[in-house]
């Protein structure tokens, strides 16, 4: 799996949505992505990419797209 596939898989597994839905997803757009879901998402991303995210990055992580920018910009994950 390449990084984009891995990233997508974290979303589909954490929130139980299909890939199409995952791609446009924003914080609080679905019941699953509330603060509880957010914590699960961050934990899964940290495991998948073997990183430790900073507070600022966790609270700025407000959508599928924004998350990609953060991982790419601050953790050197290339999509």
């Amino acid at each position: 799996m390449n990084n984009l596939e891995k990233y997508l898989a974290v979303f589909t597994e954490t929130f139980g949505v299909d890939e199409e839905r995952a791609k446009g997803l924003e914080y609080q757009a679905i019941q699953e992505w509330d603060s509880v879901g957010h914590m699960g998402l961050i934990a899964a991303l940290e495991d998948t990419f073997d990183i430790m995210m900073d507070t600022d990055d966790i609270i700025d992580f407000s959508s599928f797209e924004k998350g990609k920018e953060i991982l790419e910009g601050h953790y050197g994950i290339v999509f």
Partner: protein
């Protein structure tokens, strides 16, 4: 009247993240307008969110002797309709954006983004004179069961909290819990009593806006349920720079001893306070607290009774436990023990059924110094993200929705297991319960079994289910 708002006249009472605010004076004015619009003591359904309009309405109702039922503004429409049919309130107090759901109801008053709608129900149920408000016991399943709180309950509990937390008008608590949740409400009640400024936001810990508001407005305290403190740890809270923060409180379930210790040590190092507390909606909010200076020494304890209250333990023979380290049911006595429950409109006329004594349903012990430790629960319920969820009620909901399905719910706090006998409905059951409770589906796991273990009398053997926890 619960609060003497005039006393703090020009001080700021409520301030939100968009810069809107209300002084104590303006709260008094608002109260006059609402009282005039409503006209008389009656029942109001307040659909709550953490915004100025919602809080200002609540304060106005209470001070004018109007009885609000506090519900989440996110409550599912079907559940809300059921509750309306059962209690027939005279008015609804709701965000202006939700008016469209109630076409045909006439607006009597609008202010601060909230609107008062006249429901048009005929015959009203009589209200017991001391009844102040009604609250649900959890987030929860839309059951029509409410806790009946009196003016004396609210006032005495707020006074107690203000005393043991040493609150004064310099406080600036930031909202982290829903105001229709007993713990969130107790923070509002106790701080309005001392003339503090409440920082009001609907945003959560996982949002940039929350922390910007926290820092810009120099929040001094917040409250959290166990899950809040787990989230904060993940947010690298211990590395955050929050110079204005001087008190953190915790309630709504038992924090792990490890986390209790971490936060207690963090607070000691920073010269701030971490206060573990214990309570229930049936006792208005608070019953016990662990003084901050004992947070490390008595780690894992929920403390001692609040000022004005008393704890004792009752063993299985009904005798009072006199010696330390023996488990018994925790019984609380104090002026904040609520009147009782209401399950239908007629119950609103009921008087005080508890006479100041509450059997908490929690099993506890005390140590040689008299500090209490929660050891377990007598009743079948879990706390999910701080919300009490009754397992028998969950079973009933599932059986009601899925005809002929046998099921049993069980689990540990924050993790509920739904045992069902039909693989085909597994996903549907999970979705159904998540939507009914309004809780994140991550809290629920469905386990499919051939049959639910039962004894000869047909009672579910919940102990047998434990080995299926994952």
């Amino acid at each position: 009247m619960v609060w003497d708002l005039d006393k703090y006249s020009s001080r700021m009472a409520l301030l939100d993240e968009y810069g809107s605010s209300l002084t104590y004076c303006e709260l008094v004015e608002m109260g006059k307008h609402i009282a005039a619009a409503v006209g008389e003591r009656c029942l109001v359904f307040a659909l709550c969110e953490n915004t100025l309009g919602s809080i200002a309405g609540y304060v106005s109702f209470l001070n004018a002797g109007i009885v609000p039922v506090l519900l989440s503004a996110q409550l599912e429409q079907e559940l809300l309709q059921n509750l309306l049919a059962v209690y027939k309130p005279k008015y609804l107090w709701l965000p202006i954006g939700q008016r469209e759901h109630f076409q045909g109801m006439e607006s009597a008053f609008c202010e601060y983004g909230y609107c008062l709608l006249r429901t048009g129900y005929g015959n009203e149920y009589p209200l017991f004179p001391e009844l102040a408000l009604l609250l649900t016991t959890s987030g929860s399943t839309g059951s029509p069961k409410f806790v009946r709180q009196s003016y004396r309950n609210i006032r005495s509990n707020a006074e107690s909290i203000a005393e043991y937390l040493e609150l004064n008008e310099e406080e600036r608590p930031i909202t982290t819990l829903p105001m229709n949740y007993t713990y969130g409400l107790s923070i509002l009640n106790s701080h309005l009593l001392v003339g503090a400024t409440i920082l009001v936001t609907d945003k959560g810990l996982m949002q940039r806006e929350f922390w910007n508001f926290f820092k810009e407005q120099r929040a001094t305290s917040f409250g959290g349920v166990p899950y809040t403190y787990e989230m904060l740890e993940r947010l690298r809270f211990f590395r955050m720079d929050l110079p204005s923060l001087h008190t953190m409180t915790q309630a709504g379930g038992k924090l792990t001893v490890e986390l209790h210790k971490k936060y207690a040590e963090y607070a000691a190092e920073k010269g701030t306070k971490f206060v573990v507390m214990y309570g229930q909606c049936e006792a208005t909010a608070r019953m016990g607290y662990l003084p901050a200076d004992k947070a490390i020494e008595k780690c894992g304890s929920m403390g001692i009774a609040i000022p004005g209250g008393k704890f004792r333990l009752i063993d299985e023979n009904g005798e009072t436990v006199e010696k330390p380290l023996i488990t018994g049911e925790l019984v609380y006595e104090g002026p904040n023990v609520t009147l009782g429950y209401a399950e239908c409109g007629e119950d609103l006329a009921k008087g005080d059924e508890r006479h100041g004594i509450l059997e908490t349903g929690d099993m506890a012990q005390f140590d040689a110094d008299g500090y209490f430790y929660i050891a377990g629960r007598k009743k079948r319920f879990l706390k999910i993200y701080g919300n009490r969820v009754n397992l028998d009620e969950v079973d009933q909901l599932i059986k009601g929705q899925f005809n002929g399905l046998d099921c049993a719910s069980a689990g540990v706090d924050d993790h509920m297991y739904l045992f069902v006998t039909d693989n085909a409905v597994a996903d549907a059951v999970k979705e159904f319960i998540a939507s009914k409770t309004g809780l994140n589906p991550a809290a629920f796991k469905v386990v499919v079994m051939d049959k639910i273990p039962k004894n000869d009398a047909g009672k579910t053997l919940y102990g047998e289910l434990e080995k299926h926890y994952m």
